[in-house]
Every structure is written in C-alpha cells, then in structure tokens.
C-alpha cells in the first residue's frame, strides 16, 4: 500500500509550524527511515500519517484513499503503529494484549475465529513472545513489553507499519531480531516507515532514508547518499565519522567526540 504525503504542514493550535510542506512517498515493499534531531517533527509526521493528528494543510493518502475519508477502524485495518512506549492500564496477559491487535478485523461481539487465532499465534512466534503468553504484561521488562507490542501490531496484519523509535528498550540481539522481522514484513509487501535515532541501524536495515530538520525533509535517498558528514552536520549540528566496514561494506555513523585533555603533572 502506498503512503503518499502531499505538501503537509502542521501546527498545534496556531503556534509556529511543526511541519512545513512535507512531501513523502513510501511504496509497498519499501522500508524507509525518518531521521533527524529531537523536535525535527518525526513523531508528528507519523501521527499525521496514522490519522491521530489532522494536517493544517496538505493531504495524506493511504493507498487510493485520502485519510480524511477513512474511518478510524478502516485506518486500523490497513495500518499499525509501534511506539517507543505504550501505557497499559490493567493486568492483561501477553496473549490478551496480542489478541487486541485483531480488534479492527473482528465484529464487536464476535468470538475468536481460526483466522484470528492463526494471526495471533504467528505474530507471537515472530516476535518471540510465545513463552511469555500467560505472563502479566505488567510483570515484563521494557524490552519484553516492546516485543509484545510488536506482536500486537503484527497480529493486526497491516499493509503499512509505522514505527516510532521502536528499538529504544531493546538489547542488541533483540534490536537485530526486531529489524529482521520488520524487513521480512517489507519483503512480503508491507510499507514500512520508521522514525529512529540510531543512524547506523537505519543505514544497515532500510532501503531509503528521509532526513528531517526543523519541520522539513531536507534530503531523501539511499542510506549512503543521505548519511554524509555534510548532511548530518546540517541537521544535527554535529561532526560525525561515517564509515564503511571493509568486509561487509555496511555503513556506520559514529559521533566524533573530542577526548578531554588530561593534564599530566
């Protein structure tokens, strides 16, 4: 499903613009990262694409429909979101939380169908939370909880997946696992858009990167084209080392932190 953001601007109740004239197109089977410093507008853009916020100007299209014409349920049937953190009000089990992902596809009073059960079980296996099934969501660590919310989003069987800093609470192995699950979804045809601070992770996993600065996208393109010292200095006001591993030719970005001078007497 194509996500098409057309000249979108946004401001909170008449205050200065948080987003200004954003154009972005993400197609099916494509994995795109949104990067940029704090306050660049990444999360706001994701909220507009998911319909939580309405743009002050411009339009968002999901597939062939303008988002304004879709109901909340119709949006949820094709689009799922994983955030950095999600509150959970009561003592639900992991299985119950993952099953909530079926909400947009099920009738109000419908029982769980074999199709629902299949989707839930697949999602739990993919996100590696089967062994947590009967545990209380509140008894889990931040990283385990994050995997449960990924499983919930996968159980939704979305055509588009939006991710907002999804790997913040994950250890290194689960970061890699999380990314490979998402890459797999993209390979199977899903549209994936992810806001992320870890530039190296973005470089190694995504097809394309959009760099945001002060509410605008200043450059988009393949990771190697976007992640240059010049672009990063322009957006982050910071010197970095951009390199490529000679064995794997994978790109990495390291902040260049000057060593403090230790005076020796």
């Amino acid at each position: 499903m194509r996500i098409f953001v057309d000249r979108v601007s946004f401001s909170y109740n008449g205050s200065p613009l948080v987003l200004e004239g954003i154009d972005l197109e993400v197609n099916g089977s494509e994995f795109v990262a949104l990067i940029g410093p704090n306050g660049a507008g990444k999360s706001t853009l994701l909220k507009i694409i998911s319909g939580v916020l309405r743009p002050s100007d411009g339009n968002v299209q999901l597939g062939d429909s303008s988002i304004g014409t879709l109901s909340v349920r119709q949006i949820a049937q094709c689009l799922a979101m994983v955030e950095q953190e999600r509150p959970i009000g009561f003592d639900f089990t992991v299985r119950e939380v993952v099953a909530m992902g079926r909400t947009p596809h099920r009738g109000r009073f419908a029982r769980e169908t074999p199709k629902d059960r299949g989707a839930i079980e697949r999602a739990m296996t993919l996100a590696d939370v089967v062994n947590l099934e009967d545990r209380s969501i509140r008894a889990l660590s931040g990283g385990e909880r994050q995997r449960v919310f990924l499983a919930m989003a996968l159980a939704q069987e979305p055509k588009a997946l939006l991710l907002d800093e999804p790997t913040t609470h994950l250890d290194l192995r689960h970061q890699v696992q999380f990314m490979s699950i998402v890459q797999e979804r993209a390979k199977e045809g899903a549209t994936v858009l992810m806001a992320i601070h870890d530039l190296t992770l973005a470089a190694q996993t995504t097809d394309r990167i959009a760099l945001m600065h002060q509410g605008r996208i200043i450059v988009t393109g393949p990771p190697t084209d976007v992640l240059t010292r010049r672009h990063i200095r322009q957006a982050f006001d910071l010197d970095v080392i951009v390199g490529s591993d000679p064995d794997t030719s994978l790109t990495y970005v390291l902040p260049s932190i000057p060593k403090p001078n230790h005076k020796t007497s």
Partner: protein, 347 residues
C-alpha cells in the same frame, strides 16, 4: 519459573468463567430469598416463596404477604438495581480513566445530587417524586459542568481536566449542601438530609423499581456494547486509535451512560459509597481485566452485595435501621485496604 503462579491463576479464572453464569444465577436466587426472609420479622422460607409467587395459601398470613410483596420485594429489587448501576458505572469509569481510584462519583455526581436532594427536603414538599427528581437534576448539573469544563475547542475531552474538575465541582456542591444543612434550623430536615447523604434503600417502592429498571438495563447495555473498546483503551488513547477505536466517541458514550446510571441510582437511594470503587476491583482480580466478562459479572456481584449490605443495615440494630452506606463503607474500606496491601501491584 516466574510464570508458574500466573498460569495457575489463569487456569482458575478460566474454570470460574465457564461456571460463572450458574454461580451468579445461584447467587442472585439466594440473595433474593434472603432478602424476603430476613428482617425485623423473620418469615418462613416457604411462606416467603409463596407470597413472592402470588400463590394463594392458608399457611401465609396476610401480614407476611404484605411485608414480602409491598416492603421487602421492592426493596430487594431496588437494591439489586442500584448495586448493579453503581458497580457497572465504577467499572466503566475505571476503564475510561485507566485509573483504579476512579468511581462513579468522580464527576462530582454525589455532591450535585446531595445539593439537589437537600434543596428539595428543605423546601418542605412531601411529594415522593420531587426528591429523586431534585437529586437527579443536581447530579446532572454537576456532571454537566465538569464535562463542559473538560471539553476543548477541538471537541476532545481532557481526562485530566475531568478528574480535577470532578473533584472541585464535587467539593463545591458539598460545601453548598453543608451550608444548606447549617441553614436548616429544624432537626427533622437535618436528619432527612443526613440519612439521604449516607444512602439507604428505605424509600423503595414498586414505582421506583419500575422507573429504575429500564434505565439500569439500557445504561448497562450501552456500557457493555463498548466493552471491547474499553479493552483497547487500556493501551492509551492513541493506542486505542491505532486499534480502530475512536477514543472521543467512546469517552462521550461512557460519560453519558455512567452519568445517567449513577444519577438515577443516587436519586433513588442516596449516595451509597464504595460499591462502585471496590466491586470492579474484586471482580477484576477473579476474572481478569477483560471488560466483556468484567462488566456483566460486576453488575451481578454489585447488585447482590448491596442487598446483603442492606440486610445487615436493617437487622444489626433492629428495630432501628442503619444507613446502608455505613455498612458498605465498613465492609468495603477494610477489604479495599487488604487488597491494596496484598495485591497492590495488580490493581
């Protein structure tokens, strides 16, 4: 290893849920019979059953028949309706605010209702209709003010402002009630107002149950209709949105349904505390937080709990009668504290 106790708890829950319709029917039946038999005058069970069913028999004295059909039966029915209304409203409010301290009175309904009732009592009218009407109007005005305060220009309702507004408006109306009590020089009025504020089922008539039954039925049905949405809302307002649930529509319906339910219950029985707060907690600990089971089971448990509390209220100091709110608080508060101490993290 850590997951073992949890699994055991869930298994118990599953087998309870399987049997719960039968257990709950039995509970209602026993409650009904106890309500008819027990009181200042003990009526033999067979006579009570015959009187309830309207069977003509020489073994049932006319006095017993009168007590059962005109006093105890309406009182038990009113108790069931009010208890169910408060427990369901409490469940909905806790689900909506995702806060275990939410109760049906969170929108200042108790304060508003007592001001309305106090005004009617002080006006000296003796009409049986005016007191519930005044209390309902007071409750609706209080909830209306709170809702108006919390409604933003973008037609979204701020949960935070609702809670704070509810506390402030409730306190304001309570102050007005206190002022009215202070003004009332006649002791008779004072006792009336205080008894009303503490809550009781003493005013039960068949008419009151006829009026309340459809309100409680429809209100509970509306809240149950949104059970799945309340589950989704436990992942936050944006979380619910991403699951296809519009949190604004949900909160508008929940506020409307709980306001009507609570205001109607309070208008008939005064401000009975703790049922709306404690019952949803207790039931949640047994059944888990899924609102599809939580709402109906809370309704039945709340209904029966109020009838038993009322039984205690009218037998402990016979022939006098304690306000039932005193009993619910005496039973509810220590139990709530026990839950907090032992299962605090799960609440």
């Amino acid at each position: 290893m850590r997951s073992r106790p949890r699994e055991a708890g869930r298994l118990k829950t599953r087998s309870f849920l399987k049997w719960s319709p039968w257990i709950l029917c039995l509970l209602v039946l026993i409650t009904f019979l106890a309500g008819a038999v027990i009181g200042a005058v003990t009526i033999p069970l067979p006579a009570a059953v015959k009187a309830m069913l309207g069977v003509q028999s020489d073994t049932v004295s006319p006095m017993h028949r009168l007590i059962v059909t005109q006093i105890r039966l309406p009182r038990v029915l009113l108790g069931l309706l009010v208890g169910a209304a408060l427990a369901v409203s409490g469940t909905a409010m806790q689900g909506l605010f995702r806060n275990p301290l939410a109760s049906p009175y969170i929108l200042g309904i108790a304060g508003g209702a007592s001001t309305g009732a106090a005004l009617v009592i002080l006006s000296g009218t003796r009409s049986p209709f005016l007191l519930p009407l005044g209390a309902f109007a007071g409750a609706a005005v209080a909830a209306g003010i709170v809702y108006w305060l919390a409604s933003g220009r973008d037609r979204k309702t701020s949960i935070f402002t609702l809670i704070l507004g509810g506390v402030a408006v409730g306190a304001l109306f309570s102050a007005v009630t206190s002022f009215l009590i202070f003004l009332s020089s006649r002791g008779e009025h004072l006792a009336d107002i205080l008894f009303w504020i503490m809550g009781g089922l003493g005013r039960a008539t068949w008419l009151s149950t006829y009026i309340l039954a459809p309100v409680v039925g429809i209100g509970t049905a509306v809240i149950f209709f949104f059970a799945r949405d309340l589950n989704a809302l436990s992942t936050g307002e944006e979380g619910a949105f991403h699951l296809g649930v519009n949190p604004n529509i949900l909160s508008r319906w929940m506020l409307l349904a709980t306001t009507v339910l609570t205001a109607s219950a309070v208008s008939m029985a005064g401000t009975i505390g703790f049922i709306g707060l404690v019952i949803p907690h207790v039931v949640r600990l047994i059944t888990g937080p899924n609102h599809r089971t939580l709402i109906p089971i809370s309704a039945v448990v709340g209904a029966c709990f109020l009838v038993w509390a009322d039984l205690a209220a009218r037998t402990i100091v016979t022939p006098a009668e304690l306000p039932v709110g005193v009993i619910t608080a005496f039973l509810g508060a220590p139990f709530f504290l026990y839950l907090l101490k032992t299962k605090g993290a799960k609440l």
